[in-house]
């Protein structure tokens, strides 16, 4: 019966693929490339299906959550509790006319919405969804994630430039300027992770966290913060959504897109959000493992719940925070996050060196590192903030002055008789 038990075992969905491939190889003696293609196609189709289902559900979930945050109800008309709203939205986008502006650069205008999908979806190829559930566990996975994310810029620029719209161009240029700054932060933040885990293979980062029972969230809090902020920039979520800042430049780089082309951008935004959440979960939150819980609960379920939790953070900030200005965002990247990220890499390197060379037991070293890094992160943020003048008393908020406490001009003209203009 062990075979049957394995067949029904939900903890590892990868073995279904394995059994299919074994069947192909052993019973049909298919050539290698067939199994190669089949396993790839199964993985891609599974990821796509999951992405689409997640996206459709999160359209509804995000709108409900934001409705909740905004003291309103949210969609509740289409279907029970508005559950069919995403379908209605999708149908609407499909049926609407996809207008192409007359002076648009047509091939590029068409290419933009297609290209925007690439970075969002290719990232999932290296994500370990569960035990043995990775499409391609590249040995340069972390670098791959960043490299693929950086191509997002090109797609956004193409979309914004080809629209021949000033708002779109402004949005595109904002994106280009922003992403090139925050890519650096992302690399530096993930460098801390790589230094600790000693591998750029995402599967091994997860294995490392599982082995030492230490999520990198606790060892690299500063890296997590900078990575999340940089990621919010990369996927255009509030408060970094200045490249599609609704109240300033209408919709930024996709101002001129309508119908299903706009739908592509809308979908790609969710996909990118999931991708970034997946990377965060894998690198910082232990991936599909959770202190041995993965023995009982399917690992992919743990992974997905963590992923949705991280995605919820993005929704939360969207419902809460105002937006920064482009120069403030750039200054924040270069003047605030970059020094902190550099210090973080230095500290992480020093700690790992001490750990390896000093031959300290991991049970002693890791808790110390965790506490030290948490304290360091808090101190650095507060200290650097004070140094840069963000926390000076005169920069703090204050209330309006009332007349009693007033040093201002008090201006009362002589009273005029009634009836006189």
């Amino acid at each position: 019966m062990p075979a049957l038990a394995a067949w029904y075992d939900l903890r590892d969905l990868g073995h279904y693929v394995t059994s299919v491939i074994n069947w192909l190889q052993d019973d049909l003696s298919a050539p290698d490339w067939v199994t190669y293609v089949v396993s790839g196609v199964i993985g891609i189709v599974a990821i796509l299906l999951w992405l689409l289902i997640s996206q459709l559900s999160f359209i509804w979930i995000e709108r409900r959550i934001i409705g909740r945050m905004q003291a309103r109800i949210g969609p509740n008309r289409v279907g029970p509790r508005g559950l069919l709203q995403p379908i209605a939205d999708a149908l609407k986008l499909l049926l609407k006319e996809a207008i192409t502006v007359r002076l648009a650069d047509r091939p590029l205008f068409w290419l933009g919405p297609v290209l925007i999908f690439v970075p969002a979806m290719v990232v999932f190829a290296v994500i370990p969804f569960g035990k043995g559930m990775t499409l391609a566990d590249l040995n340069v996975g972390v670098l791959f994630v960043i490299a693929i994310g950086s191509t997002n810029t090109v797609a956004v620029f193409i979309a914004g430039w080809s629209s021949n719209n000033k708002f779109a161009l402004l949005g595109a240029m904002r994106t280009v300027a922003m992403l090139i700054s925050y890519e650096l932060i992302q690399v530096l933040a993930l460098l801390g992770v790589v230094v600790f885990a000693g591998s750029m293979r995402l599967g091994e980062v997860v294995a490392w966290q599982s082995h030492y029972n230490a999520w990198l969230l606790f060892l690299q809090p500063l890296a997590l913060v900078s990575f999340m902020i940089a990621s919010a920039v990369e996927i255009n979520r509030s408060p970094m959504d200045i490249s599609e800042a609704e109240s300033e430049i209408v919709a930024g780089y996709h101002t001129e897109y309508s119908g299903i082309k706009f739908g592509f951008f809308y979908t790609a935004e969710y996909f990118a959000g999931f991708a970034i959440s997946a990377v965060t979960v894998t690198l910082f939150l232990g991936g599909w493992t959770a202190w041995g819980l993965e023995e009982w609960v399917p690992g992919w379920l743990l992974f997905l719940s963590k992923l949705y939790l991280v995605f919820f953070l993005f929704i939360w900030t969207r419902g809460t925070l105002p937006r920064l200005r482009i120069d403030q965002l750039m200054a924040f990247a270069w003047k605030f996050l970059l020094p902190l990220a550099l210090v973080n890499v230095l500290v992480a390197g020093g700690e790992v060196l001490a750990w390896r060379e000093g031959d300290i037991s991991s049970n002693v070293a890791l808790p110390i590192f965790g506490v030290a890094n948490a304290v360091l992160a808090a101190q650095l943020i507060i200290g650097w903030g004070t140094f840069m003048g963000h926390l000076k008393p005169e920069r703090r908020a204050k209330r309006a002055v009332l007349t009693q406490e007033l040093g201002a001009v008090y201006y009362v003209p002589p009273k005029r008789p009634a009836g006189e203009p």
């Binding site: 905004q70 000033k166 402004l170 200045i242 937006r323 908020a397």
Partner: protein, 367 residues
């Protein structure tokens, strides 16, 4: 970095998410910096001033709802004051107090919308606005009780108000008033010390007091520049003389101060309302005024402190049943005067925030 770039003209509006109506700014940009700003108005012009000259003095009142459609009560009040001055009518005591109550409720509602929309312009995606709307809804419910309409109230009459408040108004108003300070605490916690709002608005669009006076700006915008000028104090109308309240004044005259002044004025409105609800006497709410009112020939200028500033109605009568000349000194329009000075040198994002902080109502700009 000074570079020879091509000037880049961007039209903000008339169709734009944050022009608060059909207002248009033509911004000439150098990168993201604004080098020139033009205002194009008139998209909502309805020729109110001319139309009013064809209506009887009472028939003009609905127009005043529709100039500043966010604060209809104060629009009514300003015109009615002008007409009363023209005819030499004095409204009864209870009507004066009702006018105070209604204008302060209206001020709270209008400011809450202004503050919420300002946060929206800063990029807080709809959340503050939705929360602010919650209180605004309750105030509009009170208006509905008093006069049957929520936005276009048409409540004030020459010589009083159109009808007395119903008995359920007072309990509802007291209940709302008990709730508002808590809500204000909430909003101040959410917005006033919000790091991003401070970063976005402090030092942006600084309007010096001299420029503010020179461009005859009024209302919260003027007070934010440090000039304590409030018509409720300077030229008291209705029952404001008997009420205790403070003028809220800013120190820097930037966008942030304008926002702070509005928030503080909401607090003052609560304070005024508490006094007014306690002090309102019984009695008639209107004096008898003939339907076909023919004021003596002459002219009058009635002004009040509307949520947006000095709202004045200049009415000339030639003894006939309709105003001979009818002019509205609308604060939204005049407050736009320094916009160009404020916008030049700022970025696009700043321009939006500056426009949001001026708090225009396009119906009042174009009339």
């Amino acid at each position: 970095m000074p570079m020879k770039t091509e000037p880049f003209v961007v039209n903000i509006g008339p169709q734009h998410p944050s022009t608060h109506g059909v207002f248009r700014m033509r911004l000439t940009l150098d990168g993201e910096r604004i080098t020139d700003a033009d205002m194009v108005i008139g998209y909502l012009h309805r020729s109110m001033e001319k139309l009013a000259e064809e209506r009887s003095f009472t028939q003009v009142i609905p127009f005043t709802d529709r100039t500043d459609y966010v604060a209809a009560m104060t629009g009514n009040l300003a015109y009615v004051l002008a007409a009363e001055k023209l005819c030499g009518i004095e409204a009864p005591e209870r009507a004066q107090w009702l006018r105070v109550i209604m204008s302060e409720l209206q001020r709270f509602a209008s400011h809450s919308m202004a503050v919420g929309v300002f946060a929206n312009d800063c990029g807080a995606w709809q959340t503050p606005v939705m929360h602010m709307f919650r209180e605004r809804e309750k105030i509009l419910d009170l208006f509905e009780m008093a006069c049957g309409a929520r936005l276009t109230t048409n409540y004030m009459r020459i010589g009083g108000v159109s009808r007395d408040i119903p008995p359920e108004f007072m309990p509802a108003a007291h209940k709302l008033l008990a709730e508002l300070p808590k809500r204000m605490d909430e909003y101040e916690d959410l917005l006033v010390e919000n790091e991003i709002i401070v970063a976005r608005s402090r030092g942006v669009g600084v309007l010096p007091a001299e420029l503010a006076i020179a461009t005859s700006v009024s209302g919260p915008m003027l007070r934010a520049s440090g000039v304590a000028w409030d018509i409720r104090k300077a030229d008291p109308y209705a029952a404001y003389e008997r009420l205790e309240f403070d003028i809220c004044v800013g120190t820097n005259g930037d966008v942030y101060d304008r926002f702070l002044v509005r928030v503080a004025e909401m607090r003052q409105s609560i304070r005024i309302l508490e006094q007014a609800l306690a002090m309102i006497p019984d009695g008639p709410v209107a004096v008898d005024v003939p339907v076909a009112l023919r004021p003596p020939a002459g002219e009058a200028y009635g002004r009040i402190e509307s949520p947006r500033g000095e709202l004045g109605f200049y009415v000339v009568s030639d003894g006939g049943p309709a105003p001979y000349r009818f002019h509205i000194r609308s604060p939204s329009y005049i407050n736009l005067t320094p916009l160009r000075d404020l916008a030049i040198g700022a970025t696009v994002a700043d321009a939006i925030v500056i426009l949001g902080s001026i708090d225009i109502v396009v119906g009042e700009v174009d009339r």
